[in-house]
């Protein structure tokens, strides 16, 4: 925490929030909201929550703005007014202020920021910090908490990504889109027939391999540095989104078809849950990775935990990547899967 940074950043964040509500052109609001998430990332960084900052960076900078733009692309850009608008605003602002007041009331009761004696630092978190290295051999405690101590939560969070993508895909898939989707699996795509300018195409061609390489690095290196399956998956998805923006959705479909995407969406969660199930079959509890050492006797129970976490991260990355791409293609092509943004 550097107080000068905090004051400036928080001012900017609050102003950003107000402006994005205030602008009536939805595209403008979306763009300002993008700046909001940039700044939020800096706020998290200032608080030392590096993994959260990374997630915010990957999601905020990479995909969420694109999702908003793709949504606005096929809907309306303006807000329609009705005569109740003012009164609704009035009531909702009263409710917001009340809620803010409620939240503020309790703040005086909180322990000081970074207080070593606060209950949070002395109960469960202390155990994690002290024992994580011994029990899992993973230096990044966030990863070991997410992928091992509370792996069950993470499994269902991956499930949330799965459900969200499946819902958006199912809702937007129109009947003619379904036929085209089936057909396009067997279609040859001409790579020369693209509309986007040469500069963007070339720049994206330069960036995408680096992006994917970096994403794989983030997935694999999550044990040692901030990052992990989720962030890596988002960056992978963003690289596919970038490719489909620079060329065409069809070109990306030639490599990763939508049917494949929906399958890999499920497979990612199944890898995660399947590892848990194998542990259960081998005689441990569900997601008790140390039971895997019965399958590979050369690894001790700690080493098998370490390795299982890696596979779990891979599963998460697979789901998130295909989820992001499925959401983008569904939104930007309005369920027709012909051409996107």
């Amino acid at each position: 925490m550097i107080w000068q940074f905090d004051i400036l950043l928080l001012t900017l964040v609050v102003v950003c929030g107000f402006v994005s509500l205030w602008i009536k052109d939805l595209m403008g609001a979306v763009i300002v909201f993008g700046a909001y998430s940039f700044l939020m990332c800096l706020v998290w960084t200032g608080m030392g929550a590096v993994d959260v900052a990374f997630t915010e960076a990957a999601v905020g900078a990479g995909v969420s703005t694109i999702f908003f733009i793709a949504t606005v692309f096929h809907t309306s850009r303006t807000i329609r007014y009705n005569k109740w608008d003012l009164s609704t605003k009035f009531f909702s602002s009263i409710i917001c202020i009340l809620m803010g007041f409620f939240l503020m009331v309790a703040i005086g009761d909180f322990p000081a920021w970074g207080d070593a004696l606060s209950p949070v630092n002395n109960n469960v978190a202390k155990y994690y910090l002290e024992n994580s290295m011994e029990e899992t051999k993973v230096p990044n405690v966030v990863t070991s908490v997410l992928a091992d101590y509370r792996a069950f939560d993470t499994m269902f969070e991956t499930g949330v990504v799965f459900v969200a993508s499946l819902v958006i895909f199912t809702l937007l898939l129109q009947s003619d889109g379904r036929k085209k989707l089936m057909k396009s699996a067997f279609q040859k795509v001409s790579f020369l027939n693209v509309s986007e300018s040469l500069i963007i195409r070339k720049a994206c061609g330069l960036m995408v391999p680096f992006m994917q390489l970096f994403a794989l690095y983030v997935v694999v290196h999550g044990h040692y540095s901030p990052g992990g399956g989720f962030q890596g998956g988002v960056i992978l998805g963003a690289s596919l989104i970038l490719l489909s923006m620079a060329y065409d959705i069809k070109k990306v479909f030639a490599r990763f078809h939508m049917k494949f995407m929906i399958k890999s969406l499920a497979v990612g969660v199944l890898i995660f849950a399947g590892i848990g199930l194998i542990c259960l079959i081998l005689g441990g509890n569900f997601l008790d990775y140390s039971a895997l050492s019965k399958l590979f006797p050369s690894m001790g129970s700690i080493k098998s935990r370490y390795n299982a976490m890696l596979w779990v991260e891979v599963g998460v990355a697979l789901t998130v990547m295909s989820g992001m791409f499925a959401i983008y293609t569904s939104l930007s092509s309005n369920g027709k899967f012909e051409e996107g943004l």
Binding site: I2, Q4, F5, L8, T11, L12, V15, C16, V19, K24, D25, L26, M27, G28, I31, V32, G34, A35, F38, L39, C41, L42, T45, G46, G48, V50, A53, F54, A58, A61, G62, V63, T65, I66, I69, A70, V72, F73, R77, T78, I79, Y81, E196, I200, C204, M207, M211, F214, V218, H221, S225, P226, G227, I235, A238, I241, L242, M245, A246, L341
Partner: protein, 101 residues
């Protein structure tokens, strides 16, 4: 030396605020997009600066790489939006009033 980097960070933030004025006012959407693009790039730099201040550059530099890679996607997406819908201002009385004032 840490003080120097805090100073650098504060200067960057203040100048970001100056650019943010353009995002706030920006007569057209394109101006806002422009401002946000600048803010995004500077956020990358600021991340590295923070890394130096916290003396954990090796941690923060990963985030900054991710940022640098993903930063321009939003701009390209918005640009593609405007290439398809060639309308700068949506038809809305309120918005017109806003730009006039």
């Amino acid at each position: 030396m840490v003080n120097f980097f805090i100073f650098v960070g504060i200067i960057i933030l203040i100048l970001m605020m100056v650019v943010f004025y353009r995002v706030l006012k920006g007569p057209t959407v394109m101006d806002r997009l422009l401002g946000v693009n600048v803010i995004g790039t500077k956020a990358t730099v600021l991340l590295v600066v923070m890394g130096v201040i916290f003396e954990r550059v090796d941690m923060f530099v990963d985030i900054a790489i991710g940022y640098g890679l993903l930063n321009f996607i939003a701009s390209i997406g918005a640009a593609k939006y405007f290439q398809h819908h060639k309308v700068l201002q949506p038809r809305s009385q309120w918005e017109e009033d806003l730009t006039k004032s």
